[in-house]
């Protein structure tokens, strides 16, 4: 009985650590700060953890969780409500469908996959907002944000990899 509770506790804190890292990066994406000499440009942390966990541990972040992340993202930033729930769920869906391909590849190819998929999200956002505001949104800032996101991804992947090592194996998911 004690072993059962110990296992459960162990499982809980390991999963919580991963969830906490994820939530921290999500809140960092919402908060106001800028990297030195980068102006207002910030990396898209949310897409980084969605991509990483969709490939390496798809059960960690459920679609319901992603849905609520999208809702909170839209509410706090001031976007049309539901927009990022759609984008994040589609992103997670596509990446988790391709995860078997990514799992057998080198990190460089995974990175290329990340670059392409994030580009699609930026493009979709740009198309939507250009149509919504009935003008072409300037792409300079977007491009800088995109480049920042893809170049910082290897670094955040390193953090995720460390957290990943602490996670219990998937077949031990319920202690």
């Amino acid at each position: 009985m004690t072993d059962f509770f110990n296992n459960r506790l162990d499982w809980l804190w390991r999963v919580s650590l991963a969830q906490f890292t994820t939530l921290f990066l999500f809140m960092l994406n919402l908060s106001s700060f800028s990297f030195p000499m980068s102006g207002p440009i910030r990396p898209y942390f949310t897409l980084m953890f969605l991509f990483y966990w969709s490939v390496y541990r798809p059960t960690l972040i459920s679609p319901v969780f992603v849905f609520f992340l999208g809702v909170v993202f839209d509410l706090v930033i001031g976007y049309p409500l539901g927009l990022h729930s759609i984008l994040f769920i589609v992103f997670q869906w596509v990446i988790s469908d391709q995860r078997l391909y990514f799992l057998g590849q080198s990190f460089f190819l995974v990175w290329i996959g990340f670059c392409l998929s994030v580009f699609c999200i930026y493009a979709l956002e740009w198309i939507f907002f250009s149509a919504y505001k009935t003008m072409l949104i300037e792409i300079d800032t977007l491009l800088q944000g995109y480049l920042f996101t893809i170049f910082i991804f290897p670094l955040t992947s390193l953090v995720f990899a460390l957290v990943h090592r602490f996670l219990p194996s998937e077949n031990k998911a319920f202690g």
Partner: protein, 291 residues
């Protein structure tokens, strides 16, 4: 025994799988699409939820953003040591020039006071304002809004003007209990009635999601030149008249534009002006009746 364990696990896992598998994604996607469609047609439906969520999230954002803002400021100041010498020389020259202006300002102030007395106008007390820290910004090219850690509890209300740095930064568009949202002047939805100082020319200042602001409804022969100051006209009764906004410049395509005094990308603290209780001028007639 095994089947017992299996059934136990299934009972725990089943609801999770229902929402974690393809069905869950589909359900969440449909739900998102419904939410998006409904609120795109009726955007005001979600405003109370938006205020509630921002109020709940604002303390967390405040706690997270504060150390990062300080760290970024420290790194920037350390990396900027090499530039300090040049900056110092520039500031010394500027200081000498400002001393000359200070004398001019004193003369103008005295002249202004005597003219006000002559016109029998009474200048009301200084503007009241609330200083608030920025806790969230979009950080992209789509939306130019900020979230600040001050709301109705601090006296912040919708449509109040917001100042940052040397000029106006925007206005309050949503005021929750502990947090408020600012629509920056640079946002595409921003419209501000302005006056170009030195002329009696009025116009509408429009944001376009870039660092420069556009001037609308302005004739070609208005005699406007680069360097003229742009202030709020006070028309429409939303903003106080005379709030500084920026200077006229010529954009790359030789069109007149306004460069705001405030660098919208580096706003950390803002001042929210209380416009309701402060009118700059009280006409003498009203004062006589009150007395």
């Amino acid at each position: 025994m095994k089947s017992d364990m299996l059934s136990k696990n299934i009972s725990v896992v089943a609801p999770t799988l229902l929402l974690a598998g393809r069905n869950g994604k589909l359900i969440c996607l449909i739900l998102s699409l419904i939410l998006f469609s409904v609120l795109l047609i009726q955007p005001k439906t979600g405003s109370s939820v938006r205020l509630l969520v921002t109020d709940i999230v604002s303390p967390v954002l405040s706690a997270i953003s504060s150390p990062f803002q300080n760290l970024a400021a420290t790194i920037t100041s350390v990396s900027g040591v090499a530039e300090l010498k040049a900056e110092n020389a520039k500031l010394s020259a500027e200081n000498a020039r400002l001393k000359e202006w200070y004398q001019s300002a004193l003369m103008l102030q005295a002249e202004n006071q005597s003219l006000h007395k002559l016109l029998n106008f009474k200048i009301d007390r200084e503007h009241k304002f609330v200083t608030a820290r920025v806790i969230s910004d979009a950080g992209n090219a789509f939306v130019k809004t900020l979230l600040v850690a001050a709301g109705q509890n601090e006296g912040v209300q919708k449509n109040q003007a917001v100042l940052a740095g040397e000029g106006m930064a925007g206005r309050i568009i949503e005021a929750g209990r502990n947090s408020s949202r600012i629509l920056l002047l640079t946002d595409i939805n921003s419209r501000v009635p302005i006056l170009i100082e030195g002329t009696s020319q009025k116009a509408i200042l429009v944001g376009n999601n870039t660092d420069l602001l556009e001037l609308k409804h302005i004739p070609n022969d208005a005699g406007i030149t680069e360097g003229m100051r742009v202030v709020t006209s006070g028309h429409g009764g939303v903003f106080l008249p005379g709030l500084p906004i920026g200077r006229i410049i010529k954009s790359d395509n030789q069109q007149l534009a306004v460069r705001p005094y405030t660098n919208m990308n580096q706003v950390t603290y803002v001042r929210v002006l209380d416009s309701k209780t402060d009118t700059n001028y009280i006409p003498a007639q009203q004062r006589n009746i009150a007395e």
